[in-house]
């Protein structure tokens, strides 16, 4: 059951990170076209909007993979001095705390997106609805929260992931 869930979670995390990478490539392209266009007196209209909104996808798209690869910065100076049981407990609590943080972010952003829909908020030039990107951010946050919850469950299981285990990127 857990192994099956892990496969699907990794696929979802991989897809989310690919969208993030795509966002980065879009940014490079938009800036290049804008700079070249500007030198010919025709800058790309709305480039600022595209850059800002693709940044949202880029940052939150990669969050789940960042956690999967243990990319979050932690002070692990005392890890070897802690008993194994404490390290395991810390790993479970940290994963759960992370899941709660991302669930809160998703909840707060969904609330904000509802407001954006109500007020018809959009980007300055291209008039892209702000809510689209807020829904996207909330979706990526939910994926991250679910990934972290799954990791906490894996830690709890006998023979589950240990602090020293390095995970492979999906």
């Amino acid at each position: 059951m857990i192994a099956h869930l892990r496969i699907w979670a990794d696929r979802l995390i991989g897809l989310s990170a690919n969208l993030g990478a795509l966002g980065l490539i879009v940014e490079v392209g938009v800036i290049l076209v804008d700079v070249i266009g500007r030198s010919f007196g025709a800058p790309l209209y709305g480039s600022q909007d595209l850059i800002s909104m693709s940044m949202v996808i880029l940052v939150f798209g990669a969050m789940a993979l960042c956690d999967r690869q243990r990319g979050h910065i932690a002070v692990d100076l005392f890890e070897p001095r802690f008993p194994a049981a404490l390290n395991r407990a810390i790993d479970i609590c940290a994963a759960l705390l992370g899941a709660v943080v991302f669930a809160f972010i998703a909840y707060a952003i969904i609330d904000s997106a509802k407001l954006s829909v109500m007020l018809n908020l959009s980007t300055n030039l291209l008039r892209l609805p702000k809510a689209w990107f807020q829904w996207g951010l909330a979706g990526f946050s939910i994926i991250t929260a679910l990934g972290m919850t799954l990791r906490a469950v894996e830690f709890c299981l006998p023979g589950g992931d240990s602090p020293s285990t390095k995970e492979t990127a999906p």
Binding site: A17, N18, G20, A21, G23, L24, I25, E27, V28, G29, V30, I31, L32, D34, V35, Q48, I51, S52, M53, M55, V56, L58, V59, F60, G61, A62, M63, L65, C66, Q69, G71, H72, I73, A74, V75, D76, L77, F78, E79, F82, N87, I90, C93, A94, L97, G98, V101, F104, I105, Y107, A108, I109, D111, S112, F133, Q134, L137, A169
Partner: protein, 434 residues
């Protein structure tokens, strides 16, 4: 409980969570959110969480972070770093300690392509350590040089350290980039002098390499031309007022990608891998930054920075003494905390004091980033040392730390010079922005 007491309780709780190995971002979110909830109510905390998250995630200024990281990752994948090293090696490799100095020059060059110290140490370590080993270099010198040289990545622009400092303190990224140029070059020169001094006293530590013919030198230098072109167009573009930092980062990233495609040194899977690695690094940085924007208002609401500022002023020590005191705190914290985390944790407290005392914020930024660099090679955490250890598994960690020591002292000397002569940091930004 008073607001101040709540603020200090929050700081203690944060430190306990960090010691317990809770990721920095999550610990900051927890403390910041609970603190604002206590001081400003649930709606205030939730409102701040949603507004700060979306505002920072869609910040067009912060776009430089993923773009410069991508530029460094692609440059590393396409072998641009090796060409830089080869060029420096061809010119000065034949003198005593020349390979070590060539490594430092390569690190300096790569630092102008990448904003990351870890990337610089890893890339140049892979390229240069085997070569220095082949010529019988003392492993302490060779590994020390790579670990120390890597730190140039966050001082020589583009630097993620400066970008984060600028965002947290609302300073100009362009000014900070300019301010890092001379200090970066000064540090590079002092590193090279350090190598010469080591080899003067212990000639066996850095025997000379093969002398290259003129044509070999020219070939190696020609190989480094594309990199120099990228550096000139991006960094030069910012200084010349041609590009904003964001545009320079985008154009630079596009240049290295195009270079990789044209020279066939960048396959599609390798490019995709570099892009994914870049967004993951960005996510790490951005999450801490968003979390820092939860902690900062909490500290401001609890009046902790004001309290610290008043306490420092009450000590009645001169401004320079206060500055040195703050830098000492950074040096000590650098032994235990990751540099970026240290920046976001301390700036909300220190920066208002810096402004209150009339210390130039740009100068302060340069000094802080240099002390962060020192933390990268300070025991016991010293991330660059661990990076070098991963590339040179046969060299004992204690030997790498011993090898790094002369360079750490060289950085201390540089810090002293930069404190004594603020003009070194401020000349370029003041000249070009005024």
């Amino acid at each position: 409980m008073s607001a101040e007491a709540l603020g200090f309780t929050g700081i203690v709780a944060l430190l306990i969570l960090l010691v317990l190995r809770v990721p920095v971002a999550f610990a900051m979110f927890l403390v910041g959110f609970l603190g604002i909830w206590a001081l400003n109510g649930w709606n205030g905390a939730m409102g701040l969480l949603s507004s700060e998250t979306f505002t920072l995630a869609s910040s067009s200024e912060l776009v430089v972070v993923p773009l410069f990281i991508l530029m460094g990752n692609v440059a590393s994948t396409t072998g641009m770093s090796r060409q830089l090293y080869n060029a420096a090696y061809a010119v000065i490799g034949h003198i005593r300690g020349g390979l070590a100095s060539a490594t430092l020059l390569g690190c300096g060059g790569f630092a102008a392509l990448s904003g990351s110290s870890v990337a610089s140490a890893l890339t140049m370590g892979k390229v240069s350590l085997s070569e220095m080993d082949r010529y019988g270099y003392d492993p302490r010198l060779s590994t020390g040089v790579v670990a120390a040289g890597g730190t140039l990545g966050i001082l020589i622009p583009p630097s993620t350290g400066f970008v984060i400092f600028a965002i947290l303190t609302e300073q100009s990224i362009g000014r900070l980039f300019l301010a890092g140029v001379f200090p970066g070059l000064l540090l590079l020169a002092i590193f090279v002098i350090t190598v010469s001094i080591i080899c003067w006293f212990r000639p066996e530590a850095g025997p000379p390499g093969l002398r290259r013919s003129l044509s070999e030198k020219l070939t190696a230098l020609t190989g480094a031309l594309p990199i120099l072109l990228v550096i000139a167009s991006t960094i030069g573009g910012i200084y010349g007022g041609l590009f904003s930092p964001v545009e320079a980062a985008g154009v630079g990233a596009a240049f290295v990608i195009i270079y990789g495609i044209v020279t066939r040194s960048l396959s599609l899977p390798a490019f995709w891998q570099a892009a994914r690695a870049s967004v993951v690094t960005t996510a790490t940085v951005m999450l801490i930054l968003i979390a820092a924007h939860m902690v900062n208002p909490f500290l401001a609401l609890s009046h902790v920075p004001t309290y610290v500022g008043e306490a420092l002023i009450a000590l009645d020590i001169p401004v320079l003494g206060t500055l040195v005191l703050m830098l000492l705190v950074y040096l000590v914290l650098g032994c235990f905390l990751e540099g970026f985390a240290m920046l976001v944790l301390t700036l909300p407290i220190f920066f208002p004091v810096v402004l209150q005392m009339g210390i130039d914020p740009i100068w302060f930024g340069v000094l802080v980033v240099l002390t962060l660099e020192m933390g990268l090679i300070s025991p016991p955490v010293g991330i660059n040392v661990f990076i070098v250890k991963s590339v040179a598994p046969k060299v004992a960690l204690a030997d790498i730390f011993r090898g790094v020591l002369p360079f750490w002292l060289a950085m201390l000397v540089t810090l002293g010079i930069l404190i004594a002569f603020p003009q070194i940091s401020l000349l370029l930004p003041n000249t070009m922005f005024n």
